[in-house]
Symmetry: C2
Subunit: 529 residues, 2 copies
Amino acid sequence: MTTGKNYIGNKQSAKGSKTYKTFNPQLNIENKTIFTEATSKEIDEAVHLASEAFKTFRTISGEKKALFLNTIADEILALDDELIQTFCMESGLSEGRAKGERGRTIFQLRSFADLVKEGSWVEASIDTAQLKREPQPKPDLRKLLIPLGPVVVFGASNFPLAYSTAGGDTAAAFAAGCPVIVKSHPMHAGTGELVASAIIKAVEKTGMPNGVFSNLNSSGINVGTQLVKHPEVKAVGFTGSIRGGRALYDLAAQREEPIPVFAEMGSVNPVVMLPDALKNRGEALAKTYAGSITLGTGQFCTNPGLLLAIKNDDLSKFISKLSEEIVKIEPSCMLHPNIIGAFETNKKKALSQSGLMVTADYTSNVKSNYARQTVTTVEGKTFLENTTLHQEVFGPYSMVVQCENANQLELIISKLEGQLTGTLIADKEAQNYSNIISALQNRVGRLIFNGVPTGVEVCPSMVHGGPYPASTDSRFTAVGVNSIKRWVRPFSFQDWPNELLPIELKNENPLGISRLVNNKMTKDTYESF
Amino acid sequence: MTTGKNYIGNKQSAKGSKTYKTFNPQLNIENKTIFTEATSKEIDEAVHLASEAFKTFRTISGEKKALFLNTIADEILALDDELIQTFCMESGLSEGRAKGERGRTIFQLRSFADLVKEGSWVEASIDTAQLKREPQPKPDLRKLLIPLGPVVVFGASNFPLAYSTAGGDTAAAFAAGCPVIVKSHPMHAGTGELVASAIIKAVEKTGMPNGVFSNLNSSGINVGTQLVKHPEVKAVGFTGSIRGGRALYDLAAQREEPIPVFAEMGSVNPVVMLPDALKNRGEALAKTYAGSITLGTGQFCTNPGLLLAIKNDDLSKFISKLSEEIVKIEPSCMLHPNIIGAFETNKKKALSQSGLMVTADYTSNVKSNYARQTVTTVEGKTFLENTTLHQEVFGPYSMVVQCENANQLELIISKLEGQLTGTLIADKEAQNYSNIISALQNRVGRLIFNGVPTGVEVCPSMVHGGPYPASTDSRFTAVGVNSIKRWVRPFSFQDWPNELLPIELKNENPLGISRLVNNKMTKDTYESF
């Protein structure tokens, strides 16, 4: 049952006077639970507890961290139907989606558990001493990755489970050895509280230090601002809008001690469609893209909001077909009145730009909070001249840019802001467009061939991130086990006695992990060299 | 011969009217060459060239990059005595030091050449498709590291070769595939120009694109400011003062598209001396530390500026002995009148703090620009209460803090700013001080056991960096081949055709590099799985 209270470490607390409720967009009514926003004192307490917890949590073995992560997964599953119902009630999303997202959340937690249990992720590296080296002896140096400290996580509105309370950022931070303070997303505060209760149960069951996790309710910007400015907070994870992410980035950069902010933000995910592909299978592509643009009511960060192609008859046919197909799809519910409000506002702004033509607009009556999918088209020259057209319209919206020729297509790509993904739709012709592929690669974090950008696989080879503003630091990914690298730093021991070294760097290699020893990857002990 | 001109790509250029000269601190006179500061137009041209060069340079093979890096090394060696003499003339440092630093520079260039020639550094990762997976097929995903784009490098005043024009930052950026624009350090502009000429020769000999390197003269902050704000610049490397590094960090963070700045800045490199060690070998330690404090006239970023110990008779004896030993050492020349000016000012400020006692101060007459080494001491309580005492005095200066007990020692460590290094001087007692070791680890990038912090080995296990303000991003090292990670980002290909993939990700593994294939490290081709 949701109580509306915060978790300050293991303790529930609601000392504030500011309250709010979540909203059921399907029924168009407020949900019942009253959530109490965390007070300044509660925030401070949560951060202090995290800072204290870090002293022990940062040295806890990989095996114990794995048990903690797996127990969180178990406890989330144990929430069972209450979690699924709360998720649906607070998001307007389907039960199938809720279960799918829960599966993804569990998979992420267990993937990080496997990673830290195995242990090689710390990138252990050993350079042994050369006492007779001239002109000076070489010392013994050993390196591994260690956690940064308390991490603040801002959950995503569009993924109440997989990228929120116990989502990718939290799982990665715990795996790294960092305590986590979640700034709960106000649109799904109940889902957040339930997941937080599961984490707290796991903390208690596996003997993790009190303060390793806190969950703070918040309906405005104050809680987040205080957290990011707090001197004991050492890193921030965020998924959401460019405006929100940039505000946090700026706050963190202005601190006396600047801290890293990894914000995964907006993207229009350009799709480049080459002529032969459009000629040979334009119709099938139109159907596929009608589906991708409207998937999850267009509320994925990888939604294809921009289709780029060279102007010809095949493209005209594709646009007609896409427009025809997309209005056949039943409109669906957006996450919250604020989200659909923004969708309508941004769409209206785009539609008011001169030179833009609407080719599909769902006009029949729809229920409250249901989004009308829209397709527009524009000439390459118009697009180049008006950067308002480059901006994301978050929701089931996409714009087709009709380029004069391949050169203009390349120029347009090079003028785009950074993107999470770029997609190439091509037949045998791809090799003739190396400049276009190269330009696209330079603007994105992931290139997809003959597919759709929606769908982000959780695996080591995934990159979910990209040049700004897709993310605030393209050097890291937000999805997959490598996302742990956002929360760690390399650390070096020089001439350190074997008995005092962390287990990953001891001569004996007790964990049997892969290490770089004198420039050679090996699982051997040091003596056997 | 030095001309005083800039290199805008391969072309020498001096269109500006603002000029300056370097200074010989040993002779206390200006050197002859007149350097012309780069104009705004020249800066713009250099960045545009770099941006254009990036289009081809980023895809050049590891083997060709290795040839380029090795040719730079060859051409630097070919500068021979002219380089050594210019180095000494512009720094006041000895010929031995010049040759040592040249050796380090060459070693760094060749280390990066080896790294990129071998090729596994790109962290290639392959997750193959599972077309029958339910509920959805898994796509093929492949990842590698790719370069960020043009990098601006600000060289260090205290390392005219190893951390300047063709120093660690430049070598790492070239290895990554990033063009480099050097903002030449005004104190050794001649050394910089000579090294730049060697790089340009290597560019031409190995057929690298024009613009892959530029060298811009500058005596103030304007050139650097324009470079960091330039939209086509994608990352910045800096070695120097906190003030300088922070100013660049702030500029970069305020850009429309923020870019990463890796600044390696100040550090007092705390040395914790435990009681048994001081009792058993205080005298030897005093001699060792008198040497380390004055090494290179105290102008190393790892200079031990802060010695921490628990107050007792052994510590008093150590302080006396250290003070006695340090004044036996002949004073030496600092890099520039500005540097010794800052040393005197900062020392004076420290010495004026109440509660501070001077225990050694070289008082005999010294030549102009020669620094008088100084040792001071202070009570733990005084140190805790006055953060002015925590600030670095760059030069041959160190302060001994006499702590009341182990608890106060731990508290003092926890209140320190971030540091490059922390050193533990201990006998068998170390295991009884785990809280102190843990607190020290949390404030530094490298821990040294029973040694001195001066001396930074170039090897994979080195970490030269640390929590702010030791560096602006503790997640990276500035020294060693892993410093390449500052200039690259992970990139993912989804369902990309084998023939269009970069060589590192092709099924056949033509380079025979180590790759993570379906979660297993291997050098095999994909077919053999």
